[in-house]
Symmetry: D3
Subunit: 68 residues, 6 copies
């Protein structure tokens, strides 16, 4: 499947923390950690665990820009 | 200002493309290009232009995870 | 690529309307029209046009519920 | 109340799963299941339960498009 | 229609600026201006114009928090 | 840090309710309560608690408009 989301950042899962229904997945993208909040169900379906290659996917309209 | 968004990815603006009301800003984050879709007005206020240091900011609940 | 988004609704593109930088794509999902607002660039890359099979993809945290 | 969201998909609630603060609500829209992640508080206020008619509401800018 | 979105802020439209496909609508909520980016089509359907009463509606998962 | 988000609504935290991984923070903005759903981790980092001054920050593309 190819998707319209402009940001598909390849990296490696470094941590998965499950909550009651929502999990936080941390992905190392070239040395930068990206955190995703997704359902526990998705974690299980994709077999996400530390060490697995994965993409952080973000729609361009969900990215803001900040300056110091 | 410090913000709750889990993802504040430091990089350098490489391109700004303005549309009628919405602009696309591309930021190089450690060699990965992140694209943000923001208002033209925000581009002007923050003085965004190629070469400027900036952060791509994304709320964790807006990040998905994909695997090959 | 498999993605964490809970909603991957299979259908057929019925219309693509491009703006300055943003396009509106309408997908018929089992008789219900779903409208996506994506970049013109994504429209081109995915070759979206009326008649093409496509999925409307939505993260669960972006779905609200309403009642009459 | 009428709302600007382009996608207001009429269906029937088929499941409600509450977590600590966040619930997952599944709505059958013409045979397609749509999953919403909303607050437990909203579930209670709207009286959401299996069998109830409801709409899955999604802003067009939160819909992505994918192709096989 | 009643909707699950936690934030339904009542106010008055003070400005509508249409772009190619996307419009920016400014709503005065108790003296604070809230800006919404919605489709031109939605502006027309809801008859939005300066002076009209309207609600700015935001899902709780789309709200961040910042401190000075 | 200055951010592109069009809506940065100044107010006072009135309640913080933590769940397993996600917290709900309520901010009084000029008499209107705005609810944010953010990570517990962000609550701790920003030191959010009732009585603290804070901003509710929302990207314009995440704001919908409704009319009665």
């Amino acid at each position: 499947m190819r998707i319209s989301a402009r940001n598909q950042l390849k990296g490696t899962v470094v941590a998965v923390e499950k909550g009651a229904t929502t999990a936080h997945v941390r992905i190392d993208v070239g040395g930068t950690i990206v955190t995703a909040s997704i359902t526990n169900q998705a974690v299980d379906e994709l077999g996400l665990a530390a060490g697995k290659e994965a993409y952080a996917v973000v729609k361009a309209s969900d990215v803001m820009v900040a300056v110091d």
